[in-house]
């Protein structure tokens, strides 16, 4: 008997980023640039990809399930996406909701004309808004939070579009880094607390926005700055202008620290900080908080690499690569029958016996969620001869789910929500287990101004979450 499994991403039981967005205005190759930008943001969402472009003859759209390279794999597709402005989106959904109906950017035609919208984040009052709007006659075609925004927008009466938009956005509670595209205008907005990153850049006189600066590097654009929390940026043929409406002002701040811990690409700047530097700093701090006599420091590749280098620097224990990552993961793989199965982690990570044999090993990972993968990794290292295995996590214990755009396990599934560090250590069978402290993490990301949301580590979300967030998605599609 055999069964099929999708080779999980290496960090398969890590929280998953929900989306990445990209936008460009004023470039003759707008859709090509968006395509490349989305490729750079692929780590933020692998389920679906889409681009909407704006030309004189209207908006042009192409969406599909799968990776950017697959969805846009036929050359005529990009050619059809005419025009000098475009927005794009990559999405990561849970299996049950992998409907093409939920792919973005979505497009509507309404009183405002044709609009394309791409959204990264999560609106916590989406269900309440939806129910209220439905009572007013609104019709929803998807289960996407974002659809509510357009319904709010067309109900606004203010004269200026900017005001109507600000007033609509002000009714949303939660996380949104969003780009909107009409035939003549690109808009980039970020929620008042700034949960998700959004960067602004320039290329050959054109303006570009992207979830992370790594998208700028690929296309040769220059990083300018973050789009600020609560800021609306409007780009049209007259250039760029920024508005900071009062309705979107908030004294709180909610930058998602997990972007720096795990999500963002190490070569990116997010929230104006280098991800790579932040992770190395976490690793250094982790070493000073959790020292242990050891022979080598190794990362869980690739997510633990930067922190492990930092740990090695600070501790003086030599850095090495005790686990090799397969180049051939990410494909469907038939796992043979019972007696020789359970290859999940071994198919992705191979221990380097020569590096490990007889050694006292510090293994560094960025986070520990359910504990199952860590347990397997510790086992692999021991089988390969490690004399001692010291697990070090470059973030605090993950105790709470995220409501702001990250797809986390439920609180029950988070091992740290119900187990002490010592209990977790026993479960993962490590000799010692050390987490970075909450304070240490904030220090490492230079959070002098308290601008981060660390709710998944502290339960103290930057924005109140309803005690119960009903899964309204069940109602329409039932699963």
């Amino acid at each position: 008997m055999t069964h099929s499994l999708l080779l999980p991403r290496l960090d398969g039981d890590k929280p998953r980023e929900a989306c990445g967005v990209f936008g460009v205005f004023g470039h003759s190759e707008a859709s090509n640039l968006t395509y490349l930008g989305l490729h750079s943001l692929q780590h933020r969402g692998q389920e679906s990809a889409g681009i909407v472009s704006a030309a004189a003859d209207g908006l042009h759209s192409h969406l599909g399930m799968g990776l950017v390279a697959d969805v846009f794999g036929r050359e005529e597709v990009l050619r059809r996406l005419r025009g000098t402005a475009a927005i794009g989106h990559v999405r990561y959904g849970t299996t049950g909701e992998s409907h093409i109906q939920n792919a973005q950017p979505f497009t509507v035609e309404c009183r405002e004309g044709a609009i394309g919208v791409a959204h990264n984040g999560n609106i916590v009052n989406a269900l309440a808004l939806r129910r209220r709007l439905e009572k007013q006659g609104a019709i929803f075609r998807s289960t996407m939070d974002t659809e509510a925004l357009v319904h709010l927008l067309v109900r606004e009466q203010a004269e200026r579009f900017e005001e109507r938009l600000a007033s609509s956005l002000a009714q949303l509670q939660g996380a949104y880094s969003m780009v909107l595209l009409t035939e003549t205008l690109l808009v980039a907005v970020r929620d008042p607390l700034g949960f998700r990153p959004l960067a602004l850049g320039r290329l050959d006189g054109a303006h570009v926005v992207a979830s992370e600066s790594c998208a700028f590097e690929l296309i040769g654009a220059e990083y300018v700055r973050e789009v600020e929390p609560g800021e609306m940026i409007f780009i049209d043929e007259n250039g760029l202008r920024s508005e900071r409406p009062e309705a979107l002002a908030d004294t709180r701040a909610g930058r998602c620290v997990f972007e720096l811990v795990y999500f963002a690409r190490p070569d990116s700047l997010v929230f104006g900080r280098s991800v790579w530097e932040s992770r190395k700093a976490m690793g250094r701090r982790l070493a000073s908080e959790n020292p242990v006599p050891a022979d080598i420091v190794i990362p869980v590749p690739d997510s633990g690499v930067a922190a492990a280098i930092g740990y090695a620097e600070e501790s003086g224990v030599p850095f090495d690569l005790g686990l090799v990552r397969s180049h051939y993961v990410g494909r469907t793989f038939i796992e043979p029958q019972q007696s020789i199965r359970n290859f999940g982690v071994k198919l992705k990570l191979a221990p380097v016996r020569a590096a490990l044999d007889g050694k006292r090993v510090v293994v560094v990972d960025d986070s520990l969620v359910r504990g199952t993968t860590s347990r397997k990794i510790v086992g692999l290292l021991r089988q390969a001869g490690a004399a001692e295995v010291h697990l070090r996590i470059s973030s605090p214990p993950t105790t709470d789910p995220c409501y702001f755009g990250v797809d986390t396990p439920t609180k029950q599934e988070l091992i740290a929500s119900t187990h002490s560090v010592e209990e977790i250590r026993r479960y993962v069978t490590a000799d010692t287990l050390g987490y970075l402290s909450l304070e240490g993490m904030h220090t490492a990301v230079k959070n002098g101004d308290g601008g981060f949301c660390d709710g998944c580590f502290s339960g103290a979300y930057s924005l109140p979450v309803l005690s119960e967030v009903p899964n309204h998605r069940k109602r329409l599609f039932g699963g």
Copy 2:
């Protein structure tokens, strides 16, 4: 140099049916039956297919581009479509609009709850409705005419759902044979003039509806009757009830005669008539109107078979099969380079030299649209040795496009709109060319009551068409 072409369907330049719909309520295998029903209706649309099912936990939907067997080709897909009621849809769109966004049944969530809608037809005032609704704040997600209906519905204030629906439908002008599904209710409606067919059947105590009765044959259901023009049928756990609201009453009638001429499957009943018998009757009448001394009568397979048998019966000229249809059409085929290309028709139809050589041949087709295929067929027959080729068309000259759910060429492309029969005969290089008369066609379909729309043959549509139907689809997606 080579280029790729999609092997056209045999009747590639014929008008194309736009859709087929199916619905079932009260059967434990609702989605399986819908799947089979759609397979029977595949000739009405090959571009996309979809099913929405209703279970206690909500509506479940699956849509995809391609044939029914492909879209539902993985077994888990049908299993996921739980519940005892379901609706389905097959669609034929033009290439430019082959967006998954336009696949049906589409689903919405609104004040009425979750609703799935599948539509066959065309709403001629869709653009005007859309513009009016947009001004009122409606947001459209697709270019489908049908989306307007739901916007109208949620704006209605009557107490009873039936009244709200009737009042909404009354604002639509055009052709609609439609099924709607909520968690507890299946609705089947037909426009006041009854352009498109819609049949009602029973299976094991369950109720079924389908565009054509051939879907009933496959699943073993019993044909009950047509859903009448202007009738709304509601099926729920209390059984079936019919309403004939005043708002949908109309003295005119618009059954599409082209359904009987070409679209519908020959084994179907549509408009309460046998398609096969109607076509044979057209063939008989064609023979009496257009006799010619000949040795054999052959059809253009498969669309001309029934009429050719009728022609042979009436004329006494022996029926034969002078053209053989390939079993392997319908796939992408690389056509080799210039000097030996133009195999279009020959790849699909092969002349039987032994049957044709030296013979005076009557060749019967159901309609003649652009004339290009007929010209090639006449050429094939002559090359295979036919001494004379007499082309007989079992319908009148096609002079006008359809606005009621059929995808026809423009008036300019219809050869009969600008050429006399003699000119067409010269173009297709036949020895003689004879069409069925308008009167003859109506006699053949037993149209005693004037209940058919023959606008594509007469220009006299059963319902007025705006002098200009702007292609509003251009606005949103631009192509």
Copy 3:
């Protein structure tokens, strides 16, 4: 629970042709013509397809599993098959042997240089030859009978290639219509009894050969004549020459009558006879041998059409089309669960109730093999209202398997090998059942010279068959 089935071809339980071959020499578009020729011969084999071309720089080959249009579906493939000569092959194998290793034309490099070989037929002494050659040191790479020929060829010592080839061929017993290609020469040969057809044609000064003349019609080539049994035709830059070596002379004749009954395309000439005319003649004879009072004569489409027309002509009973064939067969189709399954025949054939209801129906098929499909068809006709169903088979009872290139069921599976006509009638539930007599069949195909093998109907094969033909294929690949 669901399970997957491949929608069987309409004549799914009919014997299956094993192969079709094509060759061309002296044309600048040799591989393009071969591609088109194979498309015309697709009915002779749908499992694999291949082309070998000959250019100054050697032989070029492309093989693949699937239909011609799929295997050669990327334009660069045909472009790579350079040269002015080419041969091609389509193959139908049983599922267990669907190895790409058995696809043809196969190519070898040996003392004779590079050779490509495409074969239609079956060598009955293949296993003995193989064992003898293996003892001599021959190495076999496939389970194909044809591989033995090349081993024989390189062991021949005669000076002239023609003599070496003749001497090798003389050691083969069985059926072979074969084309061979070297860098400078195309050879077409047919076994001494001429089991399988092979036709010779001309196009623009080039020579072409094909299993059936329908391939000539498509590419515009002219039919010249049959390659004669025991004839070797050599085509090179000096033109065509024929040899009739003594070693290949045989007084017996073995043209496969089943080619005319079922296999060949109706628009083809095979064995110098029109398939269409032969089938109509069988139908006429069937009517005179098995008359019955009836209202309509209908064919089982498409294989029974010609005979049904002949039957109608002779009997005076009107021809009609009571069964409609689906355009969408031939694809994988998920069949839903138990309670509504067994759609096999209904998915492919739909009865026309209006044509059948209350009628006494004669239904004509070309052959009856296992009886299961006939039983289902009779059932379908009765459900659709037929008052009487009279099954007529335009060939004699199929009592014996074929050993000469046709993939038949075993003798045990052939219902006529163990049941009387009356028993078969009861099994298929027909009111009457009539077969064409053996004598009648021979009369219909104008077999004045006794030149046909009718072993599958008579057990009297034109060539002796070993009492036991061991399935040597089992040895190498075991399944």
Copy 4:
């Protein structure tokens, strides 16, 4: 205008390994283990994959183009490969020869019975053998060197199979690590100089062989030892026995040093050495030979990682990760039009600006072949702000092609064959360029016994190569 390119592997212009082999005897899950073993060896060949298993009912084979997970992606495939012994193969061929005919293991049926063969290496006298064998009547079906072996084998007259095999192998000159499988026997052999690795292991009483020990790690097998150069290992139901025939004895040694430099997986043992340790030792030696004042040492991931860690250790310059490798390479990617193209390297490697900006960077790669990729990498680093870029190569200049199983560029394409180190430095625009010395490399791999072939670095091949190796493959398939 766009064009399609296959996203090259990160080390796209590196020499490519030609094959990997695997074998197992005496395990109830033989084909499952082989499948997993091949997955571990995937880096040695991505073009085709195949498995042959041996059961009581014969050999069973499945081959296909593509990755192991794709070729064996349907569960029934592995189930069909019954038996308790199996061999497998992964292959990397050049595009022009990507014929399924050349996939391995290939199977033959001959005097010895049915045999499956899987080969890693290259036979330098293959053409001469082939021509000689053809004169003797041998027939070749492929362009694979290995086919000659079986022809030699069946010509041998010695009584014992072992002697016939040894005598056949002795006629081959070149590199071969090979596994053969009959219904009852598994044979593993390695050429007298031992160019390619081959390891022996044990699992649950079964014997396993594999190109690299990483395949043992995955399936939980224990590494036993190398198969020795010139050794033949026979495994059957009586167990394992080894022969070291005189005919295969050779005083020379030819272990491919490039296996340690680049090919083998870092977690493998090859030639009894740890690849990871060898590479770190090369890095350390590289540092001592080519010191430079710098701020960070970074690898070109992933091939340069081990050497870079060694370099950092030895030099004391901190190790960092200045280049991030994309997880989404290896797929076809449409590259947009001219003005923004040439993303080749940037799509795969992203510089970490924060780590590089203003730094003096040592970047370590394992080898430098054409120089084009190195030039792009140096450019990337400078654009990301590196103040100085010092390129270090952990092997000597690659001056000569390989004839022993590695697919290298021609001598003309090897930049070091025609340019001095200083010229290469200027071409790649590095501030300094340092290679590991030949002597240093040998020291690092602990080559005390002179057992390695370093022909690609020295031109002094362990085995003489004909001045001209004609590409005989051209003859049969012409391209």
